[in-house]
């Protein structure tokens, strides 16, 4: 019995290869139903835009890996030579660790991204619905989902924004606490400004002003965002009512000067303001940042925040890796204990069968015996068997919790020839 994973992901294969091997929901159900080589007992297929992986519980690692590759090729009508260089094949501990890392988003393109957990769960449920999971994969995937959730809540791996617009929202929340009831002004009606404004609106911003040099664009965008278009000339006087300014005009020189902001601050009794300047060349004079209760981030500043957050996630990932490793070992133990019990039973049955056989032979040769003599012979053979099997039984039981259980099982099965 072995756990195996065969697949490719965003680091090993270009998108041109991944897209050809990806399973849609319909083809996934079909694949789960049709891939049934005799040596594969359990199967889960995980297919996302960044990875295609087949998890197998098999009695023969090499054969089942080969048939999985063959199946992928046949299923998508892609010659194996085109994707085998990108494949990775992991087995046992490494395969378990890989699945746990994938579910915890440690193997994702964006470290700590939240979607993968749902995708792993969906893949597991699909396999379950198709009747392709058994006891081992149920345990394996339940544990993978659990460790992923633990990592998300106990480490900061998903805490820090790693895109510019989310970083802007996060900064705004560190200034204003909540964005409910806040007012945003969008200067310029470009796509980036629209995207940032949409993020803010989704966070509860209630009032949005839009000003653009050509007012038709402003009106159009205002309709899309349920905002209020204001004439370009009117934006300075609206500053006093605005908490967050997103600026992305194509003006060649700064359009917002410290004096203008100072006046707005006076009118709004120094309540804080946040300027997000995503225009190049910049729209807001950098000196604005020196004003009290005013915070100005230009596009480079936001990129720096994102960079720093990435590093922060990487630091958190170290802790997550340790948690994954712990869980892998616990799963290993579970497997070992699970493996040890049938081996002990098999070993005893095997010995008992030999004992009975040999006892039968001896009784036959000895001829008629009285009850007491029979009992002595019975006790003698039982005693020999028990004394001989005591050490291997203890060895199996003791080996299980220390993670070498599977080796022990292997040794004992081999020594006693239990698999024949």
């Amino acid at each position: 019995m072995a756990i195996v994973v065969v697949g490719l992901n965003h680091t090993t294969a270009p998108v041109a290869v991944r897209e050809r091997l990806a399973f849609s929901d319909a083809t996934l159900a079909e694949a789960l139903a049709h891939f049934r080589p005799p040596e594969v007992q359990e199967l889960v297929i995980l297919s996302t835009c960044n990875r295609v992986e087949m998890y197998l519980q098999t009695s023969d690692v090499d054969v089942s890996m080969a048939s999985a590759v063959g199946f992928m090729a046949a299923c998508h009508a892609v010659p194996p030579t085109q994707f085998t260089p990108h494949l990775y094949q992991l087995s046992d501990l490494e395969a378990v660790r890989h699945l746990f890392r994938v579910a915890a988003s440690l193997d994702s393109l964006v470290l700590g991204e939240p979607q993968i957990l749902g995708q792993v769960k969906a893949a597991y449920l699909a396999a379950q619905a198709a009747g392709r999971t058994g006891l081992i994969f149920s345990q394996l995937f339940e544990r993978a989902l659990r460790v992923a959730k633990t990592i998300r809540t106990e480490t900061g791996i998903s805490d820090h924004a790693v895109s510019v617009s989310y970083a802007a929202v996060e900064l705004a929340k560190k200034i204003f606490e909540s964005l409910q009831q806040r007012t945003v002004m969008v200067l310029g009606a470009g796509d980036t400004a629209e995207l940032a404004a949409r993020h803010l609106v989704s966070q509860g911003v209630t009032r949005v002003f839009i000003a653009n040099r050509t007012s038709e664009r402003a009106v159009l965008l205002a309709q899309a965002l349920q905002a209020k278009a204001i004439p370009w000339e009117a934006f300075p006087e609206h500053l006093a009512y605005t908490d967050i300014v997103i600026s992305s005009t194509s003006a060649p020189h700064p359009i917002i000067q410290p004096a203008m902001v100072r006046e707005a601050l006076r009118a709004r009794r120094s309540r804080p303001m946040f300027f997000i300047d995503i225009a190049v060349p910049r729209d807001v004079d950098p000196a604005v940042n020196t004003l009290e209760n005013v915070f100005l981030y230009d596009i480079d500043d936001l990129h720096n925040v994102v960079q720093e957050n990435r590093r922060e996630r990487q630091r958190e990932a170290l802790e997550a890796e340790a948690l994954v490793w712990q869980e892998v070992q616990q799963f290993q133990q579970w497997l070992a204990v699970r493996d040890a019990v049938p081996t002990i039973v098999a070993m005893r049955q095997h010995a008992e069968a030999i004992r009975l056989q040999e006892l039968e032979k001896a009784l036959h040769k000895l001829g008629p015996l009285d009850e007491r003599q029979r009992r002595v012979l019975e006790a003698l053979t039982c005693g020999i068997v028990n004394k001989l099997l005591h050490a291997p039984t203890v060895y199996l039981k003791r080996a299980s919790p220390e993670g070498q259980g599977r080796d022990a099982v292997h040794v004992v099965r081999h020594l006693f020839n239990l698999d024949e």
């Binding site: 820090h160 560190k174 200034i175 120094s270 804080p272 009290e292 981030y297 925040v305």
Partner: protein
């Protein structure tokens, strides 16, 4: 007995302070809860001792200026627990609990046998005066911590290089709100403290303006409160200015206290 209990309380506050700092670095939930358990235990014990002393109608805890500091730690923890319950600011403990520990530590061991104060001094006005004034000081301490946190967070945001502090500390708006609420809570406490204090002075010494050890810091603190309140109300002292004024005011009061007692 008081000796032992006092050291138990002191040790609980010290350990809680260290745990809050540890939590700042490690961000493990269990450290946060353990720190609060220790803090709650120490606070409960202190409250019991206080209640017992009140019930036997002796005031050993505020017999001297120094022992009133022990009571100040009690007031600070009381204000902190209220603030944490209301605002859920996890970072607050790392700032304010060490101050409560320092207040308790500098109080020294209280007198072991409760000294029965002369009947005239034991007047109920004195007790009221001291408890109210101390709650006023404790609120000022809370404002100071909120102010320090505000200034750190503001620097993080202005520098555009948000680091560990940026993630640990709450938003500027929340810290400013905490500052404003503590001001509104503390000002009446302190005002009452001054009024009851002068009434007590009138009863005891025959004058409303008797000069004793605690009156200078008390009056200074009151003026700083009034200044902050006025600044917020009419000068638009929001955020940064309010934070800086609070931190400055707290340091002035502390300095005057030490100058006055030494």
């Amino acid at each position: 007995m008081y000796n032992v209990l006092f050291h138990v309380i002191l040790f609980a506050y010290l350990l809680a302070s260290l745990l809050f700092w540890l939590y700042m670095g490690l961000r493990q939930r269990w450290i946060f809860y353990l720190a609060h358990a220790l803090l709650g235990g120490g606070f409960g014990l202190q409250t019991l001792i206080l209640g017992y002393n009140l019930s036997i109608r002796t005031f050993p805890l505020w017999g001297e200026v120094a022992t009133s500091l022990g009571l100040l730690s009690w007031a600070i923890i009381a204000i902190y627990l209220t603030a944490v319950w209301r605002y859920r600011i996890e970072a607050l403990g790392s700032f304010i609990v060490p101050l409560a520990f320092l207040a308790a530590a500098s109080a020294g061991v209280p007198v072991t046998t409760p000294v029965r104060l002369p009947l005239a001094v034991q007047h109920v006005w004195l007790g009221l005066h001291i408890v109210l004034a101390l709650l006023g000081y404790a609120a000022l301490t809370l404002m100071f911590c909120a102010g320090v946190m505000y200034l750190i967070q503001e620097r993080q945001l202005k520098s555009k290089r948000p680091g560990a502090w940026y993630h640990y500390l709450p938003s500027l708006t929340l810290l400013d709100e905490l500052n404003a609420k503590a001001l509104l809570l503390g000002f009446p406490f302190l005002t009452q403290g001054i009024v009851t204090g002068s009434v007590w002075a009138k009863y005891t010494y025959g004058s409303y303006l008797h000069w004793n050890l605690t009156s200078l810091p008390l009056l200074l603190a009151w003026f700083i409160y009034a200044l902050l309140l006025g600044g917020r109300r009419s000068l638009g002292w929001q955020g940064s200015k309010a934070a800086r004024a609070t931190v400055g005011g707290f340091i002035v009061v502390l300095a005057s206290y030490f100058v006055h007692t030494l």
